[in-house]
């Protein structure tokens, strides 16, 4: 990598508006790699940013709504991420070496969000795929309630790693209102944890291929052994119908 | 000596259309027209209707009676051109009038073929191409109370005459050399439908046979019967010979203009001689379906050629793309239309014949028959019997060589229409400036 192309920004005490302007400025100037040091809670990092080959590295705790409406860049966070990352994201990738908060990937339409640790509530809510836009969220740890709520497309994988079994791998109401897409859960999900609209299946060969494809990429990003991850039993969650509320009304 | 800018020999469809085309471009250039028939612009196909009393004589007019005035035409009617001097650009009429022209159109049309056979000169033997013919037949029928007639030739003219005669309560026997009537335009199925219908109105069709001799009847010098190849004899008081027409090319031949089976023309309908054009039945032009030059003696072709020739004579530059043989005729109450190559058997080229595809819909009970001949996913021929509405859409597809692969399943549907055509083509048709065919 060309060192001259790397922009270093120490974010300590910098207001988000200023910080983001410098990021956008750098990208406008053709910079491809930006490293942010000492980030602590600054919001909206890389919102609306486009550029497939742009890479932003963040050290610290990334603030809310990181990468909202983002369309292409890759963001790697060494630290935890707060709420709302990848909100309505179109393309790009977010790698979190840590935990992430609630509503990860809200209405996300494309791109990938890989999280090493746990995530909060309502992750992947209203995520949807469209044509070649295929959003993928992989959670290394566990997820809390309402995972994949209203999910209309895309893929969520929960690996449940570093969990000694006392926490369920996903919370309750998993897949409530889900009407598209698929979840692969590495471990058992109890029926009561599921939303009314989803059903558990074994993975078929196509699923396995799909799973492997993404898990390998994930493992590579976090220097993990993909085989170790894949060899465990996964379950597939898919919705019963594309029309969960078709019969709700008196026509 | 008459000097004229434009001279047209002929007074039928090609000639009239040429006049109109010239006048579209040149309102004032002097224009002379010579015809050996003494009539205003009458429509030859109408003579069978005239014979059958379906139209009055006045209705035969192809153009209103003020046509010559309107178009400033000096018409020499009932006068014949006896010679044409290409070098001098001059013609001589029978009455010794000399006409000097700048541009000449030969629209001399065709003349009926009269095969040689004994008794051909008896009274009551007629050909049927001109108004004079029709009037003669009409008069003969009236004078001699014809009850039975034989029509030699089961082509379109023969059948139209037959229909007229039937309308006059004459019992007709059709004698056709081929194995079926309308063999030049129809296939076997279509022919059979018409034969059956003709039988229904009391006509007999004798095929695979020919008249060997026409015999005199009881009265001197008049037809009494015909003898066929197989020696059988058919009683009749009248014989109409309708075995076809051939281009009238005598004048052209004498003037040294190149000829094939008809007058040879280039794509601008110019003959081998500068400033001399030819159009109509006299011409041998390119047949788009047969893919070779040949005379296509049909009315729309004559009109089109006349228009284009006239247009080019007046200084325009329009190309005649070629002819597609087609016919629309209603026989025994059954409307029929045939366009292009309707029967692969007609093709001499075996490879091409084998490459053709046929789709058809035959509803025997209703006498409905639709047939489409495809070559390389393009329509090359159509037969429609008893269901001819919107036939021109097929004609258009033939002419525009439209690939029908994507909608061929719709082609035979009764509601086949523009909506079945590709959107762009359809739009072009509907929105385009004008549509040519």
């Amino acid at each position: 990598m060309n060192a001259a192309k790397v922009v270093n920004i120490n974010a300590q005490g910098i207001y988000y508006r200023e910080l983001n302007e410098s990021i956008h400025q750098a990208v406008r100037n053709g910079q491809k790699e930006i490293i942010l040091e000492q980030v602590n809670g600054q919001r909206y990092i890389a919102d609306g940013l486009s550029g497939k080959d742009v890479k932003i590295t963040i050290h610290g705790t990334a603030g809310n709504d990181l990468a909202a409406f983002m369309d292409g860049p890759t963001i790697e966070i060494f630290g935890n991420a707060q709420d709302g990352i990848g909100n309505t994201m179109n393309a790009g990738k977010i790698i979190v070496h840590g935990d992430a908060g609630d509503i990860v990937g809200h209405s996300m339409r494309g791109g990938k969000i890989f999280i090493q640790g746990n995530v909060g509530y309502r992750v992947g809510i209203h995520m949807k795929a469209y044509q070649d836009l295929y959003p993928v969220i992989i959670v290394g740890g566990c997820a809390q309630d309402y995972l994949g709520e209203y999910m209309a497309g895309g893929l969520i994988i929960v690996l449940g790693m570093n969990n000694n079994g006392s926490w369920p791998i996903v919370g309750d109401y998993c897949g409530t209102g889900m009407h598209g897409g698929v979840m692969y859960i590495r471990g058992e999900v109890k029926d009561f944890q599921l939303g009314k609209e989803v059903k558990i299946f074994e993975l078929d060969s196509k699923d396995k291929k799909n799973l492997e494809l993404y898990v390998r990429e994930y493992a590579q990003d976090f220097s993990l052994n993909a085989e170790e991850i894949i060899k465990e039993r996964f379950f597939k969650l898919i919705p019963y119908t594309h029309r969960p509320y078709g019969k709700l009304y008196a026509y | 000596m008459v000097k004229t800018k434009y001279l047209i020999i002929g007074n039928s469809i090609a000639a009239v259309n040429a006049v109109e085309a010239i006048r579209e471009i040149d309102r004032h250039g002097s224009l002379c027209l010579v015809s050996d028939e003494p009539y205003h612009t009458y429509s030859r196909p109408l003579i069978s209707y005239y014979l059958g009393n379906k139209v009055e004589e006045e209705a035969l007019l192809y153009r209103p009676d003020y046509f010559y005035d309107l178009n400033k035409v000096q018409a020499f009617l009932g006068d014949k051109v006896v010679s044409l001097n290409c070098r001098e650009k001059q013609v001589v009429l029978e009455d010794k009038t000399y006409i000097q022209f700048e541009k000449l159109l030969l629209a001399t049309g065709g003349s009926a073929i009269m095969p040689q056979m004994p008794g051909q000169n008896l009274a009551g033997v007629f050909t049927f191409t001109t108004l004079d013919d029709a009037q003669r037949v009409k008069k003969f029928i009236a004078t001699h109370q014809v009850k039975k007639a034989v029509v030699i030739g089961g082509g379109l003219i023969g059948l139209k005459v037959t229909e007229a005669l039937v309308a006059l309560n004459i019992q007709v026997t059709i004698i056709e050399l081929a194995d079926r009537i309308l063999s030049a335009t129809f296939d076997r199925t279509a022919s059979r439908i018409i034969e059956r219908a003709l039988k229904g109105i009391g006509c007999a069709c004798l095929t695979n046979t020919t008249v060997k001799e026409i015999r005199q009847g009881e009265e001197d010098g008049r037809v009494g019967s015909v003898v066929l190849k197989d020696e059988s004899q058919i009683e009749c008081q009248m014989v109409i010979v309708a075995v076809g027409v051939r281009p009238r090319v005598d004048l052209a031949r004498e003037a040294g203009i190149s000829l094939g089976r008809g007058i040879l023309v280039d794509e601008y309908l110019k003959t081998s001689v500068e400033d001399i054009y030819a159009a109509g039945d006299a011409v041998e032009a390119y047949d788009l379906i047969a893919k070779m030059p040949r005379p296509v003696a049909i009315l729309p072709t004559a009109a089109k050629q006349g228009r284009i020739a006239g247009y080019n004579m007046a200084g325009g530059r329009k190309v005649y793309e070629g002819s597609i043989p087609m016919n629309s005729v209603e026989l025994a109450g059954i409307p029929t239309i045939s366009v292009g190559l309707t029967d692969p058997a007609m093709l001499a080229d075996v490879d091409r014949r084998n490459s053709l595809e046929i789709i058809q819909d035959y509803r025997e009970r209703e006498s409905i028959y639709k047939k489409i001949v495809l070559e390389d996913n393009r329509i090359v021929g159509v037969i429609l019997v008893n269901k001819i509405d919107r036939a021109g859409i097929y004609t258009g597809l033939i002419k525009d060589r439209v690939d029908v692969a994507y909608f061929r399943e719709y082609l035979l549907k009764d509601d086949f229409g523009l909506l079945s055509l590709p959107r762009e083509y359809r739009k072009h048709m509907v929105i385009g400036q004008g549509i040519e065919i």
């Binding site: 809670g41 935890n80 709420d83 908060g101 746990n118 809390q144 006392s166 919370g171 | -």
Partner: protein, 397 residues
């Protein structure tokens, strides 16, 4: 006379000026009772400036008056001198004023106007208590606070607990902190609030935390059940004169913990009750217990989004609503327990905590003093830490 305070005319139907507000909250507690300066909490809440809009900020601090720890510390806000005069007179009727003084502030640019801020250290008069045998000391304090806030024009009790105080006002919280010179105080629990009211009756009294006795509540969210919660409290003679969700939460804690003597863990299960579907899955005995809780305390259920930090002199509790509609993050570092709306607000003052986690819906984060008394000398106390997490041993998420 006391009954008069509770007269029905106080209870105007839900006024439209009840202020829905969003906010940021933060809390720090040293479970060993070790006191530390207010700087940390100011620093933490300041980081979440985006969550507030300058129309309210405030702090609650415990352990700040060790020398006067036996007396009820009343923080008063006066708009007029007349209000102070009436209040003084009223207080003297029921209390011995051990000490009183203006609350020290410093002039800062962004806070141009403030009410008259005064603090009193009070001892209830024996004769008053003797005259009303059914009235406990604490009841008296509650009624005093309510009377002053509700009846005396332009006077407002910000806090009324022992060895604690609430410092609040109109402004961003860090400015409020600076104004009150909080870096000069030392306490073992600090909570803070940055307010984002949907309106701004620029009113110092409307700021958070809300306090009663030694309760303080900072809160983020809007309680959709406010109307019934308030009417429920009225049954128990709480007058809700501030028209804020926070006030209602405070009274609910006071009612359920002080009066009904329920433990925090159970109160959490009343305020953020488990769903019936969850209760259905419980073992029979537990099921019956939770059913009873919901049946009896249905009107105390806090419905709607909230993330709240409640403290009293022994405890700091963080609690989310039952659907977890508001953010709350917790962390521990040694004897310290941290609760905040955002992780960054914790990391700002504790960059490398031992553990950071997001509590689940309705799952209380509880920090408790290791021994029941530290008011005087917290350093000498032996303490045991206990973090309660909804019956789940493992901390996990």
């Amino acid at each position: 006379m006391m009954e008069g305070l509770m007269s029905e005319q106080m209870y105007i139907a839900d006024k439209d000026y009840r202020v829905p507000s969003g906010c940021g909250v933060s809390g720090i507690m040293n479970e060993a009772g070790e006191r530390f300066s207010g700087e940390a909490i100011m620093c933490s809440i300041a980081l979440m400036r985006e969550r507030s809009n300058g129309l309210g900020g405030g702090f609650a601090a415990y352990g700040i008056y060790p020398d006067l720890a036996d007396y009820y510390a009343f923080h008063l806000m006066y708009e007029t001198d007349e209000a102070k005069r009436q209040t003084d007179e009223y207080l003297r009727a029921y209390y011995t004023i051990m000490h009183d003084e203006p609350i020290p502030t410093r002039k800062i640019k962004v806070i141009s106007q403030s009410p008259l801020l005064w603090r009193y250290f009070l001892k209830p008069r024996e004769d008053v208590l003797a005259k009303n045998p059914r009235l406990s000391e604490q009841d008296l304090v509650v009624q005093t606070a309510m009377y002053i806030s509700g009846k005396i024009k332009d006077a407002l009790v910000a806090s009324s607990g022992k060895n604690m105080g609430i410092f609040k006002g109109v402004g961003f919280p860090e400015d409020i902190g600076e104004f009150y010179r909080l870096e000069e105080y030392r306490g073992y629990i600090w909570t803070a609030h940055g307010r984002f009211p949907t309106n701004s009756v620029a009113w110092w009294g409307g700021a958070h935390p809300f306090g009663l006795l030694d309760w303080s509540v900072v809160h983020n969210g809007e309680i959709s059940s406010y109307g019934i919660n308030r009417r429920y409290l009225q049954n128990f003679n709480y007058s809700c004169s501030f028209f804020t969700d926070t006030e209602v939460i405070t009274y609910l804690f006071d009612l359920l913990i002080r009066k009904h003597e329920l433990p925090f863990e159970i109160v959490a299960k009343i305020l953020a009750a488990p769903l019936w579907a969850d209760i259905e899955r419980m073992p029979e005995e537990e099921k019956e217990f939770y059913q009873s809780l919901r049946i009896v305390y249905g009107s105390a259920l806090l419905n709607g989004p909230f993330g709240v930090i409640v403290a009293n002199s022994q405890t700091m509790l963080g609690l989310n609503d039952r659907l977890k509609l508001r953010p709350l993050v917790a962390a521990r570092w040694g004897d310290f327990i941290y609760i905040a709306s955002e992780e960054s607000a914790i990391r700002q003052i504790c960059p490398q905590p031992d553990r950071v986690w997001m509590p689940r819906a309705g799952e209380p984060i509880l920090g408790r003093m290791r021994r029941n008394n530290l008011a005087k000398d917290p350093l000498s106390q032996e303490a045991t830490a206990e973090v309660f997490e909804a019956g789940r041993e493992e901390e996990g998420l």
